[in-house]
Structure formats: C-alpha cells, structure tokens
C-alpha cells in the first residue's frame, strides 16, 4: 500500500473523523497543537450538538448545570480551525478501497487518514415493550431532554440498572420531582465497583433521599398503557410496578457496527494497537469504541491519553505508545462520597483491612496482596482515594505503612492547607495549594475556562499540586466535582521525563553495563527524543554518571541546577546565600570573627541561624561569591546541593549531665567522612547523645542515638512536607561501626534511588527488609558499599576551595560590562 504522505507542499492530506465526542475532538485538539496545517479535517457527528462533556449529563439532568455549561467546543471552534463539520449526519459506510466515507443522507468525504471515534451505544434489554414510547436510555442530550420533559408530565419513573449511570439518572429524576424506583438484577447496587457493606450504606443514604429500590428483580416485560405509552414494568417473579418513564441503564456496548461492516477486525470493540491503529493502518480508532489489549475504556483520562498518542502519530511524530490504564470510580451524586478501585472484593491470597462505622456512614476496605495495595472501596470519606490510588498504581510496598494505612495520608503529617481535607466544604477564596498560592476558585475557573480534565492539566495551568504534591487529593476532588474528571492513569513505571520512555532504573543499568560516561552518550545510547534533554533529565543523568563512575565520568556544570552550579542558594531577588560548613555544628571564635568581618566587608544584609545548626549569610551578589568564600576560609556547607547537608548534634557526654555518648564527636566524624557526598537528593544526619534526642534524629535521613551500651541507627526519616519518623535499622557498639553502617546505607541509596527521591521515598519503595538484607545480613556487601562510597568521596574536592583559590569556572561569576 502506498503510505507516502505529502508534507510541506502540494495539497494537504485529508483527515476524516467519524464521531464528534470528547475523545475524538480531544485528538483533533492535540493534533492541531502539533501540526496545525497538516490536514484538511472533516468531522461527522450523529448528534445535532457540538462536542460536549458527556460526563456532566448527570448534573444537567439534576438541574445543577445547563446544556450550554457543558459544551466543550462551541461551533466557532470548528470554524476557527477550518474544520468541516457535518452535524446530525450518521456515517453508514466506509469504502476502504476508494478511501471515502458516506453518511445516511449521501454526504461523502474522502480520506487519507480516518479516525473512528464512534463511542458506545446503550444496551437495550431485549424484552417485550422495549420499543414503547417512554422507554429511553441515558446517553446523550436527547435522552436528558426526554427525561426532563417526562418529569414535568408524569410521576412514576423506573430506572433499570443500579450501576453508576443508573443511579446518576435516578438521582437526577428524583431531583426533578419524580417518584423513582431503581430496579437491579444483582443483590446489591454497583456490584462492579462496591462490595456489599459499602453498597448497603449507599442504598441507605439514597433511600433517605427518597429513592426506592427493587433488588434481584429481572424484567419480564414493559407494559403498554392506554395512551400507547409505557405504564408499568412486569417482573419475572410476577411482581410489577407503575412506570410512566423507563430509563435503561444496564450497560454500554462499543459502537462497532460501522467498523465491522467495513471489514475491520473487532472484538468487543474496534481492535487497535498501542499506536491506536486498527487493522487498516490508515484507520485509527480511539475512545469507548476502541478495544486496546482487550479493554474498551469508558473513563475520560485513559481516553485522553489515547488521544495524545493518536494525535502524535497522525502528526507524523511517531512518538509514544498507549499501554493501558488502571481505572477507578467516583459517583457524581451530590452529597455522596464514594470511591473504588482495583480488586476491592479480594479472595484467595489477599488480606483486607476494614473500617466500618455504620452510624457515621463511613466504610472503608483496603485489599492487600503480597504487601501491596491491590484494591479498595470507600464510602462516606473518600479524601484519601487519590493517595490509595497512587499506592495501588505504583505497586508500592506498603508493609511499613500497614499500621496507619487505613487512617490515610493525613496521618503521616501533611502540612500546608489548614488541615482541610474536603474540597466541597471549601469556599472559592480558600487556598488549596500552599506552595504556589492557588485558591479553590482559581482551580475551578481554570477547569471551566480551559476545559481541563486531568490532574496533569490542572498542574500545568494553575501550578496547584505541582510543587510538593500534598494537596493532590484536594485538587483531584475539585476536578471530579467540576469537570467530572477521574482518577484513571497509566500504570507508572515512571519514565525519567518526557524526553524518554526509559525508567530511572533502566537508565542507571545502561550507564553501568555499557560504561557510558557522558550525557550525550547516554542520550544517544538510549535514544532520547530531544537533542539535549530538559531541565528534568539532565541533572538526573549528571548525577547518575558521577555516582556510577566516580573519577571517570566528568561533572557537567551546565546540567546542574543553578544552586549546584554556583555552589550557593539563589534567592528570590537573584542574590545568593552562603552557608559555610561547621563540623557537627561546632564553631570557634576565629570562624565567628571571620564570618562577622565578611558580613561587614560585603555589606551582607541578613544573617540567619539555620535549623541545621549553621549560619546563613543572605543577599550576596553572585560576583562576590568567590571572594566571600576566600575570606571565610571555611569548607563548603553544600546547603545548595543534592548532597550531604549537615550533621546536627547535641553536646553529649562532654557537657550534658544526661549524655551517655560523645555525640558531638560522632557527628563531626560522620560529617568529615561523608563531606562532599552528592546524592539523589539532600541528605541530613543527626546524632543525639541520649534518648532525650535533642538533635531530633527521628526526622533525619540517618539519625544516631547514643545509649549507654552503644549506638542506635535510624534511617529514612523526613521533616519536610510530610513528617516521616525514621525507622530503626540496627544497634551497634563502636563509632567505627556507626560510620560503616551509615555509609553503607547512604551508598545503597546513592546507587539505587531515583534522582530526587529522598531516603524515605527510596526505603518506602524497596522496603526496610531489603535494606536490612543488604546491610545487616551481608557483611561483605556492607563493606563493599562503604568502600565504594569512600572511593567516590576520594575524587571529590571542595568546590569553594577550587573556585575561591584556583579560579575554576571563573566565567560563572563574571558579568560582561557593555
């Protein structure tokens, strides 16, 4: 087949899209961003409306929003982008040999590429009376109009199907004043998303709102009334119920009729590969009609990921594969909080943690298998849904979290948003993201105005949740309420960044196995998509290289963040701060005099004592840095680096009447041993001389507590965004052992953690047992780790000394006068 494509000259290629729904139009939007002039685009839509947000039909039915509110792409959008739009025209034929499609009214369009985004059809029960007047489904604006009309004329509504869609329809009809009965074949509601206890709570609260339920009922017939309209529903067990309106919400089927008729391979959907192509490579398919690896998705986030991949290939970029998604569910019924994901029923080989408070209306169940969260269901309190979902998706080892897993992420000490965890109770002017100062109103506005659907979109546009991430749960709740977005996401094996699909682990392995020594070598070997990476991957690669090949791989200053390039911390006004090293927090009169003299000489505007027992000089001009360092004549404090920061100590047995060990000297020895150590992220140590723990070792990457009989070593604590208490690793007898065990732990972290993971993240991922196996159970391995760390440190030099005394990289600190 001729697949050649005219580019840049000659007539444009022709792209025809069948279907005018959310997934299809999103593909066009992505395509127009990448290649605005590549195609003449024609769109066929069976409905008479432009693209609208189908997820929000429930609030429209409930009278909480209007049809205009949910239009995503008004007609102007199509004309502005020169898209030929055929509304109300159903395509009935694809002529693949002539490469043309034909609508029922005879409208014909030729294509070079065809995109099938035909969505899905509601499943209609094959019972007598299913075609009566007054029997409808819940799929599009026409259905909503029919329901709204019926609600003003009739009284009794029956919804067949107690799933997500059925309950949302029932809720809407009830709000419109109808008397609503939900008929469901299973023993409890939403059996595909909920277990029985959660479903009972849901049923109870819906009953309190006035909804009625008939469970385990099978429909035999819809009975015709005198007017010709449906008047009742008859069940197989002989019961019946009055019904002036029947809404069938028993499921959807991918709409594959057109594809099948044209000979495309279908199997519960139009079968597509990872680039969203059907068996005819000119024809793509995405959305609810497409079956990818056997799954036809019905939630927006996976469909938008498909759209991105499809657009990329249509634009001839040829990058990206869609690899499937894990999905979760949230019910959009105002006032009801419900969340479920994964395998929430459990069974052989799984364990469950349960929380049940029937009076308070809260139920939670977490299903665990092999120390990993594999599913969960929550009713009444879903604030931690996003957190659980991310644990599930990332396959995190939850062994260490198990004890407080049920109590949620807040239990781990989240700071920064006034302890509020329910987005619905927030007013528009309340701050959601404390890092970037983003209020709820800003987020809602951006979601509405810019048509955002995913967490990533919101992060890009508003910056909310893009820094420390602790407000992610709140942002996702706001998203779910405002746009109907969901928590679905592609399973993360976490690629390094958008420049590559490779994971951190794959990159590290390649660097080691193939002895790659420079960033261009890595990018070339691993087929980076960008010529020289980005601000995310270059610092990571630079670290991986120098950590893997110390003394051989050369440090690349241009791939370091400014702080590590300038060896000082950039401040908001563009000046820098300097924190000289004070071993173990000890200082001397002559150091203090030099510091005071430097402050005077360079008119340094602020001096601050830090939490790590150091002195911070703030507001220094960049060109003064080398002179300041020279005059201070103290070692670099590395307060600017992903490196060993400080070892905080107490005064210990030398002075303190409670002290049992010389913690100050221990701290000094540790700091001198690990000085100049680069790491995946900053590393903080502390040593306390007794269990009163004045040096606060429980929130350090490595914390040492002196006790009468020796030293206890704790690892992976963190005092930042989320307070994490360090875990006990081992108790040792001598200071030499403290240094060797600590060094081995730090080297393990340096060799295996992903760049920008703190020790707490690394240990959470691999589990403390793994760390113990490597360091405690295997003495040879421990010594080898420690030796490798010492070797890496032996090739590092004090960066301040090099720059202050030897003029290294002088240009970094000089401006050019003109």
């Amino acid at each position: 087949m001729d697949m050649s494509t005219p580019m840049g000259h000659g007539p444009k290629m022709k792209l025809v899209m069948v279907g005018n729904g959310m997934a299809g139009v999103r593909t066009l939007e992505e395509l127009l961003k990448l290649a605005p002039d590549l195609y003449d685009i024609t769109v066929f839509g069976a409905e008479p409306h432009p693209n609208y947000n189908r997820i929000l039909l429930s609030p429209v039915l409930a009278g909480e929003q209007t049809v205009d509110d949910i239009v995503l792409n008004p007609l102007d959008w199509y004309s502005d982008n020169h898209i030929t739009l055929h509304l109300g025209k159903t395509v009935v034929k694809i002529d693949r040999s002539a490469r043309a499609v034909e609508a029922a009214d005879g409208t014909r369009a030729e294509y070079d590429r065809l995109l099938l985004a035909t969505g899905s059809n509601p499943f209609i029960l094959p019972v007598p009376g299913a075609d009566l007047d007054g029997v409808i489904s819940f799929r599009d604006i026409a259905d909503v109009d029919a329901m709204v009309r019926a609600s003003s004329q009739y009284r009794h509504a029956v919804v067949i199907g107690g799933g997500l869609l059925g309950l949302e329809a029932a809720n809407g009809l009830m709000k419109r004043g109808m008397d609503v009965t939900v008929v469901h074949i299973a023993p409890w509601l939403m059996e595909r998303q909920l277990d029985e206890p959660a479903a009972r709570l849901l049923q109870k609260s819906l009953e309190e709102k006035g909804m009625k339920f008939l469970l385990q009922k099978q429909t035999a017939e819809l009975v015709k009334g005198e007017s010709g309209r449906v008047c009742a529903i008859q069940f197989k067990d002989g019961d019946s119920a009055p019904a002036d309106l029947v809404v069938m919400a028993v499921g959807i089927r991918p709409n594959t009729e057109l594809a099948e008729a044209s000979g495309l391979h279908c199997n519960r959907g139009i079968v597509v590969n990872d680039t969203m192509q059907t068996f005819d490579p000119r024809i793509y398919s995405i959305g609810e009609c497409a079956a990818h690896r056997g799954i036809a998705y019905g939630l927006v986030a996976p469909l938008f990921e498909q759209a991105k991949v499809c657009a990329n290939h249509l634009a001839h970029y040829g990058i990206g594969r869609y690899q499937g998604s894990i999905t979760s569910t949230k019910l959009k019924v105002t006032g009801i909080d419900l969340f479920s994901a994964g395998d929430f029923i459990g069974g052989e080989g799984t364990e469950a943690i349960l929380y049940s408070d029937p009076i308070g209306g809260v139920y939670k169940k977490l299903v665990i298998k092999d120390n990993k969260l594999v599913g969960g269901v929550m009713y009444g309190d879903t604030v931690d849904g996003a957190w659980y979902f991310s644990l599930l998706r990332d396959g995190k080892n939850i062994d260490e979290l198990r004890d407080h897993l049920m109590f949620g992420q807040d239990h781990c000490g989240n700071l920064g948003h006034q302890g509020i965890n329910k987005a619905a109770s927030m007013t528009d002017d309340m701050e959601v993201c404390g890092c970037n100062g983003v209020c709820k109103g800003d987020i809602v506005k951006a979601i509405r105005d810019k048509g955002l659907f995913t967490l990533e979109d919101v992060r890009k546009h508003t910056k909310a949740s893009s820094s420390c991430g602790s407000c992610t749960g709140l942002v996702e709740q706001i998203l779910a309420v405002t746009a109907g977005g969901d928590y679905s996401a592609t399973p993360k094996t976490k690629s390094v960044c958008g420049c590559t699909d490779h994971t951190h682990e794959e990159v590290r392995a390649a660097i080691k196995q193939n002895k790659l020594l420079t960033i261009p070598q890595v990018m070339n070997f691993m087929e980076w998509r960008t010529p020289n990476g980005c601000a995310s991957c270059r610092p990571a690669l630079n670290y991986y290289l120098i950590a893997t090949w110390p003394g051989e791989a050369e440090d690349d200053p241009q791939s370091r963040f400014i702080n590590e390039r300038a060896h000082a911390n950039i401040q908001r006004d563009g000046t820098y701060s300097v924190i000289p090293r004070m071993w173990g927090g000890n200082t001397t009169p002559s150091e203090l005099r030099r510091i005071a003299d430097v402050v005077d000489k360079y008119s340094i505007p602020a001096v601050h004592v830090t939490g790590g027992q150091r002195i911070d000089l703030l507001g220094i001009k960049k060109e003064d840095l080398p002179k300041v360092w020279a005059d201070l004549d103290m070692p670099s404090g590395h307060a600017y680096g992903k490196a060993l920061r400080t070892v905080k100590t107490c005064v210990g047995s030398e002075w303190c009447r409670f002290g049992t060990q010389n913690s100050t000297q221990m701290g000094i020895d540790l700091e001198k041993t690990f000085f100049k150590m680069w790491a995946p992220h900053k590393v903080k140590l502390a040593v306390s001389g007794c269990p009163r723990n004045c040096a606060e070792v429980a929130i350090k990457d490595v914390g040492i507590i002196g006790v009468d009989s020796g030293w206890e070593i704790y690892v992976a604590g963190n005092g930042g965004i989320k307070t994490e208490v360090a875990q006990f690793l081992v108790k040792v007898k001598t200071p030499d052992e403290v240094i060797e065990f600590s060094g081995a732990f730090l080297q393990l972290y340096r060799e295996e953690a992903r760049y920008l993971d703190r020790t707490v993240h690394y240990v959470a991922r691999v589990g403390l047992d793994y760390v113990k196996k490597k360091i405690l159970d295997d003495a040879d391995n421990r010594r080898a780790l420690y030796e490798r760390l010492l070797f890496a440190l032996s090739v590092e030099r004090d960066p301040w000394l090099e720059r202050a005394r030897e003029g290294k990289l002088k240009h970094e600190f000089e401006t050019v006068a003109a």
């Binding site: 020289n532 601000a535 200053p557 003109a818």
Partner: protein, 120 residues
C-alpha cells in the same frame, strides 16, 4: 567599540566565552541581558528577567532552544523570549548575530530599552 547611528552592532564577547548550553550576563547600566549559547552554537539574547516573577533566566538550564527559569521552572523559548504554553508572557529579546566567532548585539535596541523607565 561604540555604537553609532549608522551601525548599532557592537561586539560584546566571543562565542567561546559562553559555555555550550549556558549563558553569560551582559550588563548595560541597570539592564542585564542574558546571552545564551545552544549545543549547535546558536546565540540568543534576552532580557535577564523571567516574565513570571523576574527570575534571572541566565542562571537556568538551557536545553534545545529553550531555557528553564531557575526560580519556578517556566520554559522560555530563546528565539522569541516567550513562555512555553500554557504559561504566558514574554521576556524582551534583543537582536544578536555571530561574525568571526564574535557575538554582536544590536545596541540601538538595547538603548531603547535602557532609557525606558522600569522594565515591564
């Protein structure tokens, strides 16, 4: 070398003075101009102020034809000075050219900015 009305171009530094994938700051009065060098030795000049919160772009990581601001990681296109969507705003750009390995800056454009009260 002084700029004249006839010839506004002034040689400010050698290409080799700027690290590859890096920048140098050229100071003219109170105006800081960041002069960038890409991996392919293309040279660009922007006012050293991120359109977001005024961060010094010269201190960012240069990648492709973009620089990531060191303050909040906005990506700025070197050829236009404008932020990559969805961020919005532009840093002022100045005409530069490379001849004989030297970087020439259009001082007529620089002077126009330098005399304006407080940069936008």
């Amino acid at each position: 070398m002084k700029p004249t009305d006839m010839n506004p171009w002034v040689a400010i530094l050698e290409v080799g003075d700027i690290p590859k994938l890096g920048a140098r700051v050229v100071r003219h009065g109170s105006l800081d101009i960041a002069v960038f060098r890409t991996a392919d030795d293309e040279i660009f000049a922007l006012e050293d102020r991120c359109p977001h919160k005024g961060g010094p772009l010269s201190q960012g990581i240069v990648h492709g034809k973009k620089v990531a601001c060191p303050m909040h990681n906005w990506n700025i296109e070197l050829d236009s000075g404008c932020a990559v969507a969805p961020d919005q705003g532009c840093a002022r750009e100045f005409p530069v050219k490379v001849e004989d390995g030297r970087v020439w800056l259009d001082f007529a454009a620089v002077e126009r900015v330098a005399v304006e009260p407080a940069a936008a």
